[in-house]
């Protein structure tokens, strides 16, 4: 139970009584029954937790007049797959998704690059005032976005970046969270690896690129997922900074357009919302292997 156990990339599987219960006396079989029941219950709980999303899907297939049925129904008077087509034509929603993809994608790339570079400096380089600057970085994490919105808007105005793509990406592409996460990870890499590379004559750039980064893949994957989701769902800043919504709007801002002075399209909003989940869900599925290991190997435990 040494710190090493917490920091190595090895994943000792959680021990499992089931392994011993594979075959054997009735006591073990009862244990297996209990376990199966537990599994069933857990999957049922998962279904329960997902029910709001399933309900959204149900609403998305209803005709408009059935959304507020009393008592509420799962299925309306008809199943309207056309709602999905209508949602995407009522508003240029595919364009909103494309905008979100561009913004979230660019933002994630920038975050990964900038954070890993800085994290390496905080973890593996020695320089004066390193601790103080890191503390400064950390303290910026506590500043809520809403405090910055108005001054940032004025700043964008000064730069002439109002209603631009860079204004959507850059202001939040430098948050300290990624640096924090990756620094924790880099701290856990044994010094021998670095020393070996150094003996081979590698400078900092090469150590960073060939030794540190490849090892950090799981943690980078986690950071990528979290960052992408944050950009994708970001709501207040795009609201304030985007003026030509039909050209540059992103998904959350676009969803608000379904509610106009002339009536609200609840069924279409649900359809659009579900469609807008697809890219993020795909990302999560692609990187699911790393989700847990990336956090584990960051070794957030032993500071």
């Amino acid at each position: 139970m040494t710190p090493e156990a917490m920091t190595t990339a090895a994943r000792p599987a959680a021990a499992h009584p089931r392994r011993r219960a594979r075959s054997g006396p009735p006591g073990r079989r009862r244990h297996r029954l209990r376990h199966t029941l537990s599994a069933l219950l857990l999957w049922a709980t998962a279904l329960l937790f997902l029910s709001p999303i399933l309900y959204a899907a149900a609403v998305s297939l209803k005709p408009a007049s059935d959304v507020f049925d009393i008592p509420p129904t799962l299925v309306g008077s008809e199943i309207r797959w056309e709602n999905y087509v209508e949602a995407l034509t009522y508003l240029p929603f595919l364009r909103f998704i494309a905008n979100s993809l561009a913004v979230a994608g660019a933002g994630t790339v920038i975050v990964l690059t900038v954070s890993s570079l800085a994290a390496y400096a905080f973890a593996r380089l020695r320089w004066p005032l390193r601790a103080a600057v890191f503390l400064l970085f950390l303290s910026t994490l506590m500043v809520p976005q809403e405090v910055l919105v108005i001054p940032l808007f004025i700043e964008m105005q000064l730069l002439g970046w109002v209603d631009s793509y860079q204004a959507l990406v850059l202001p939040f592409a430098f948050t300290a969270f990624g640096t924090f996460l990756l620094r924790q990870f880099f701290l856990g890499i044994p010094a021998e690896l670095e020393d070996a590379a150094r003996i081979d004559g590698a400078g900092h750039a090469r150590i960073f690129g060939s030794v540190m980064l490849p090892l950090a893949r799981p943690t980078l994957a986690v950071l990528a997922v979290f960052t992408f989701i944050t950009f994708w769902n970001s709501f207040l800043w795009p609201l304030v900074i985007t003026h030509s919504i039909y050209e540059k709007g992103v998904v959350p801002v676009g969803l608000a357009l379904f509610f106009s002075q002339q009536g609200s399209q609840w069924h279409l909003v649900m359809a659009a919302a579900l469609v807008s989940m697809v890219p993020t869900v795909i990302l999560v599925l692609l990187l699911r292997r790393h989700l847990v290991s990336g956090i584990a190997t960051a070794g957030l435990g032993g500071r």
């Binding site: 609201l239 039909y246 009536g263």
Partner: protein
């Protein structure tokens, strides 16, 4: 040590920059510019929902260029619920557009940033007699015309004709009383369905309160008067519809779902303005009827509200902006908007185009209501008042707090 010095230096720079910000103007004046070929582009902000709505505003912008070839209009739309936040931020950040779409309800908040149009109207000899006087009045402040109206209309009562027929309830006629109203909605409340649908808003609810006993929420000189005895009496009656009589669904959350409940067939009656009527008519799976609001102790009365286009004071191309505004409120654009049901036009001539697509009996109902309509005058902090009404009045509707207490709280918070 790069980092600390950088922070200190930037601190000094920042302080200097910010204190100069108040007077500082951005590089290129936003809102409009004239290029070397003499063509002026004027930016115009408007609220809009789906693509269809957006397209009709784009057509309006194109009409401006048709009528004035040297002027181009750059349209920027936002969702209605975010529109006023958006332009407020832009004005605060010195990035206001030239042509500003403005609701009469928000005029009090934004008039300081807008240019009075009287001189321009006189200069260009614009004939205002073709406009509806209520529409013009709605966009006036302290005797100055702050914007030209494109749409204006009174709050009316919508009802579900099929539901009334099914319950064998006679259809209401203009001049029906509050008692008849209560009787009707009581008869329509059965089997989980309600006779009426209410929501605390700054327009429909205040219109109903006015109709009940003449209670007004704002004086002529834009002072808030929510806790007068008449207001409390009217508000108590209105809230009792929900928690005592149970003829309207409970209030929950802060989104106005009154129209949604009506469209879903859960409520047989609800008040609204002409800006929504044609849309409701198109969406409803039943026949829609219109009637002026029920008459209370003060005689027939309702509130009217409207929207129009004004010019931001910071606009660098005022002449061109004014020409754009005259086109946008001109007969061609208003005729098109009326036919689409996008607006009940504030010019009298195109109104027939609106009636052509409206539910049966709308002309009679609207004319009757217009005769008794007074513009809804609002305070200059109306955004907050409207938010406050939605936020706090629910407690009176569900019986948690007394109506008098809620109104006193609102008056205390937002009055003065």
């Amino acid at each position: 040590m790069p980092a600390p010095t950088l922070s200190r230096r930037s601190l000094a720079a920042a302080t200097a920059a910010v204190t100069g910000l108040a007077a500082c103007s951005p590089q290129s004046p936003p809102g409009g510019r004239t290029d070397s070929a003499g063509r002026t582009t004027v930016s115009w902000t408007m609220w809009s929902g789906g693509t269809e709505e957006r397209t009709s505003w784009e057509r309006a912008a194109a009409t401006v260029t048709e009528e004035h070839p040297e002027i181009g209009v750059e349209l920027q739309t936002t969702a209605f619920q975010d529109y006023f936040t958006n332009i407020g931020t832009r004005i605060a950040g010195d990035a206001a557009p030239c042509v500003l779409s403005m609701q009469s309800l928000r005029l009090g908040t934004f008039e300081e940033a807008m240019l009075p149009l009287d001189d321009l109207i006189a200069e260009h000899g614009l004939d205002l007699s073709a406009f509806d006087t209520t529409g013009l009045e709605a966009l006036q402040s302290q005797g100055r015309q702050m914007a030209l109206p494109y749409d204006n209309g009174p709050i009316l009562m919508l009802y579900n004709r099929d539901a009334l027929a099914a319950a064998e309830v006679p259809e209401p006629q203009a001049g029906w009383t509050i008692d008849e109203f209560e009787e009707t909605i009581r008869a329509l409340t059965s089997g989980g369905r309600f006779g009426y649908s209410a929501f605390p808003t700054g327009d429909t609810m205040l219109a109903m309160l006015l109709s009940f006993n003449g209670a007004t929420a704002v004086t002529e000189d834009r002072r808030l008067t929510l806790d007068t005895p008449e207001m409390i009496e009217a508000f108590s009656w209105y809230t009792s519809l929900v928690h005592e009589l149970g003829v309207a669904p409970e209030i929950s959350g802060n989104t106005d779902v009154a129209l949604d409940q009506f469209l879903a067939g859960n409520a047989a009656m609800t008040p609204t303005g002409p800006w929504a009527i044609l849309n409701v008519n198109a969406q409803a799976a039943f026949e829609v009827g219109l009637v002026p609001l029920p008459v209370g102790t003060h005689g027939p009365a309702t509130l009217s509200a409207g929207s129009g286009f004004g010019i931001a004071a910071s606009c660098p191309v005022i002449e061109e902006a004014f020409l754009a505004v005259t086109s946008l409120t001109g007969p061609a654009v208003l005729e098109a908007l009326a036919a689409e049901g996008r607006a009940f036009p504030s010019r009298t001539a195109p109104q027939s185009a609106w009636y052509a697509n409206a539910p049966e009996g709308s002309e009679a109902a609207l004319s009757a209501a217009l005769e008794t309509a007074t513009p809804l005058v609002t305070t200059d902090n109306w955004s907050q008042v409207a938010d406050g009404i939605a936020q706090y009045c629910g407690q009176a509707f569900n019986g948690e707090k007394s109506p008098g207490d809620v109104l006193a709280l609102l008056q205390d918070e937002f009055g003065g």
